[in-house]
């Protein structure tokens, strides 16, 4: 049996990576939930749950900005 041509091996490998990436993006879309994350100086970050007081206020404020951005953008 002759070995596969080198370009075939390369194509299979790239296709494998692409399949993995597509599956990752699909899982991410399904599993990702709304979140509020704040970043501070020094790289520290804090998450705020939507059902908490601060988190709720953050989601309300973000919702207003999303409304503002509904105006179409010229590209």
């Amino acid at each position: 049996m002759t070995p596969p041509k080198p370009h075939r091996v390369l194509l299979d490998r790239v296709s494998g990576y692409a399949d993995e990436a597509a599956a990752y993006v699909r899982r991410r879309r399904v599993s990702r939930r709304p979140f509020a994350r704040l970043y501070y100086g020094g790289g520290r970050a804090a998450d705020f749950a939507a059902d908490g007081r601060a988190g709720g206020e953050l989601f309300v404020a973000a919702g207003r900005l999303i409304e503002v951005a509904r105006e179409p953008v010229d590209r």
């Binding site: 953050l58 900005l65 503002v68």
Partner: protein, 132 residues
């Protein structure tokens, strides 16, 4: 144009950086161009006044300031970056060099890339140059 007229057309932010109002508009245009997921964006000065925006500047300024006030109140120190992902879209805010960039994008936007672009345009603006 005289030197005085040129200076009158320029703005100075709190860091002392000088830039033209047109530079902020070009920075917003660049952000929109760089990020296909972007629905809208604005750049505010340190006082919360809108320098440029894709929509109504006054509303961007008002609602952007409200978001940052809530974010600052949520922790013990002023925030540097805000990222809120909702079912309707994602909101980003960034303070850098005395300026504020706000952006709203579709869900699942590439967070790190968007923050990188926002930081880049603010850095260029604060340096007194054009966003490149």
């Amino acid at each position: 144009m005289t030197r005085a007229a040129i200076l009158a057309d320029l703005m100075v932010d709190e860091t002392g950086a000088v830039f033209s109002p047109g530079a902020a508009e070009r920075a917003v245009e660049l952000l929109v161009e760089l990020s296909p997921d972007l629905r809208g964006a604005a750049i505010l000065d340190a006082d919360g006044a809108a320098l440029a925006a894709t929509g109504a500047p006054a509303r961007w300024a008002e609602d952007g300031a409200a978001l940052l006030a809530v974010a600052d109140g949520a922790g013990e120190e002023p925030v540097e970056q805000v990222h809120i992902a909702t079912e309707q879209g994602e909101v980003f805010a960034l303070r850098h060099d005395g300026l504020i960039a706000l952006a709203v994008a579709d869900r699942f936007a590439l967070t790190s890339v968007l923050f990188f672009d926002m930081r880049s345009v603010l850095r260029d603006l604060a340096a007194g140059g054009e966003a490149a």
